[in-house]
């Protein structure tokens, strides 16, 4: 299901033709069952600048029924229906780390944080990942934030400056960076 609008409160009028009213009900329930979703991954290789913020460019879209993602602006999901969205974001890197390195995913809406705190987004967990060349370096976060239709949602990846070389996106299936969005309420 796609292309449905966020339902208004339903109203039923006696004496009026029932079919349009019943279809308003059907569309409302169809939306509330299916909702707006978006799930994507970063599957391809690429360099991630250390000591910098990088909006993850998605290249493998698993589902996008409302068409909020476009290859021409691959880091952004353009909100198609206003509302509160739950967002699960994962940043995952490959490469040799260094002691004291931190990794932070942030939920970025139009390049800033919905809380007002954060450089380019609402920071999720800040963790110290392992440093070995083959060690996994990954962190997952969960947010819920309000977006207006047309807002651009992105997942920011910050890796600190301790590694001697820039890391790269982790390309192994199941360990890739990813974003998952779902409309939750008005």
């Amino acid at each position: 299901m796609s292309g449905l609008a966020v339902p208004a409160n339903l109203t039923f009028y006696a004496g009026q033709p029932p079919t349009p009213q019943l279809n308003a009900m059907s569309q409302a329930f169809s939306f509330l069952l299916a909702r707006v979703a978006f799930r994507a991954r970063r599957a391809g290789a690429g360099t991630v600048a250390r000591n910098a913020h990088t909006l993850i460019p998605w290249d493998s879209v698993d589902e996008d029924p409302y068409g909020g993602w476009a290859a021409g602006n691959p880091a952004a999901y353009t909100v198609q229906q206003s509302g509160w969205y739950i967002c699960c974001g994962t940043v995952s890197l490959a490469g040799t780390g260094a002691a004291g390195t931190v990794l932070i995913p942030s939920l970025s809406i139009n390049g800033s944080s919905p809380t007002g705190q954060g450089t380019v987004g609402w920071e999720g967990p800040e963790i110290f990942p392992p440093t070995g060349a083959s060690d996994p370096k990954c962190v997952t976060a969960l947010w819920e934030a309000y977006c207006i239709a047309g807002d651009q949602i992105a997942l920011d990846c910050y890796v600190s400056n301790e590694p001697s070389a820039n890391p790269t996106w982790q390309t192994t299936a199941g360990v890739q960076s990813r974003i998952e969005l779902l409309w939750m309420s008005v």
Binding site: N23, S26, S30, R178
Partner: protein, 405 residues
């Protein structure tokens, strides 16, 4: 305390949300059957759409640093509302608390809420200190979330997610809590990041008579003037309202949720680069309304209704004291038709010393088909087995919540 979820519909009818939908009677010899009437639809469909388009949601953020004493759980206070759509929070009194609304579906236990929060600490260089974010209902046992060390040169930020049952009738509340094992007090961070708490209603009280487990609803059909409104009857153009309206509303009120924990179980995780599934114990199943867990495969939640699920797995283990290697968590989806898909979670260094342990998350929105299984797994390279913690406060957990088709 939380507010009652009584609302007035557009026709003036007062409804206490969420409302159990009626069963429509078919016309039969000697039975009139329930006619299609606007007030009845308003009560059922109108009230359900109103509730499910704006389910209770609270989100607050701390607006100033707070001192967290050593080795003492304390609530995170000073939460300013970003949203509180059913009025469960006060910016003036008990500012860390969110009181559940008093819903129609409350019994003695209450409805289920997905609660999540972040606790950043303004602390650098604390590699031997455990930092933990937790959730606490009514001042009781803290449900511990992420437990991670600090490190050189940077602050840290930990997270907690859990399903909590709360009744507005009992004035139940939840609050974000913080803990750290340093030598003295440490502040929360309020620069670039700040503690936050989000609470979202997800399902009714399972003891409520309206908590039923229907089949996954199909999307309602497009009505035509030739359709005939019916109860359960089909054929001859009849559309069964008990399927398209009643059962659909029942499903929205009570979608699949599960809170599986290792509480009461016993398990160790071997060292190495292979993955080990976390087993959940029968005594640790807090809620599982569609029966996705069974003792035959104690690590698995098996999907009973297809959809997009939030799955939050927490792996919580002890540490031996002289700690090394790394700790990693992931979710593993095993497809009913064969094959699997992993969803990577946190990978962290352990505390440089100490036995309090590590707790790390793997979280994803996972599309599950009926029969698919989802598990929480751990990989660790300590060089020795680690014990899965199994107490009420620090157990491993997996929360599963159906969110959409």
């Amino acid at each position: 305390m939380g507010t009652e979820t009584r609302v007035y519909l557009t026709d003036g009818a007062e409804v206490w949300e969420p409302r159990a939908p009626r069963t429509w009677a078919d016309a039969a010899p000697g039975v009139q059957g329930d006619p299609l009437r606007a007030p009845l639809l308003e009560l059922d469909a109108g009230s359900a759409a109103l509730w499910h388009r704006q389910r209770p949601l609270f989100q607050g953020m701390q607006t100033a640093q707070q001192s967290i004493p050593a080795s003492t759980w304390i609530p995170v206070t000073g939460m300013a509302e970003m949203i509180d759509n059913w009025g469960g929070h006060s910016d003036a009194t008990n500012t860390g608390r969110y009181y559940a609304p008093w819903t129609n579906s409350n019994t003695s236990g209450g409805d289920w809420y997905l609660c999540s929060g972040y606790v950043p600490f303004n602390a650098t260089g604390f590699g031997a200190t455990a930092f933990i974010a937790g959730l606490r209902k009514n001042g009781g046992t803290v449900l511990e979330g992420g437990k991670i060390p600090g490190g050189a040169g940077h602050v840290l930020d930990t997270m907690v997610i859990d399903l909590i049952q709360m009744s507005g009738a009992n004035n139940d509340y939840v609050e974000l809590t913080a803990y750290q094992t340093g030598a003295g007090a440490l502040n929360t961070a309020f620069s670039g990041k700040t503690p936050t708490l989000t609470v979202r209603w997800v399902a009714v009280d399972q003891a409520w008579p309206g908590a039923l487990t229907p089949a996954l609803p199909a999307s309602p059909h497009v009505w035509t003037d030739a359709d005939i409104w019916a109860g359960s009857a089909t054929g001859g153009g009849k559309v069964p309202a008990n399927v398209e309206v009643r059962d659909l509303i029942r499903f929205l009120h009570n979608p699949p949720i599960a809170r599986l924990t290792s509480q009461g179980g016993s398990q160790t995780i071997p060292s190495g680069t292979s993955w080990t599934s976390i087993n959940f114990a029968a005594s640790g199943i807090t809620v599982d309304n569609y029966g996705g867990w069974s003792s035959a495969n104690p690590s698995r939640y098996v999907c009973q209704r297809a959809g997009l699920y939030l799955v939050a797995g927490l792996v919580s283990t002890s540490d031996p004291g002289t700690n090394s290697g790394y700790r990693a968590a992931r979710l593993l989806q095993t497809f009913a038709g064969g094959g699997s898909q992993a969803y990577a979670g946190w990978t962290v260094l352990p505390l440089t010393s100490g036995t309090i342990g590590t707790a790390i998350y793997a979280v994803a929105l996972v599309r599950l088909s009926v029969g698919d299984a989802i598990e929480t797994q751990m990989q660790q390279t300590q060089g020795a087995a680690l014990t899965v913690l199994a107490a009420a406060n620090n157990c491993s957990r997996m929360n599963v919540v159906w969110l959409a088709k």
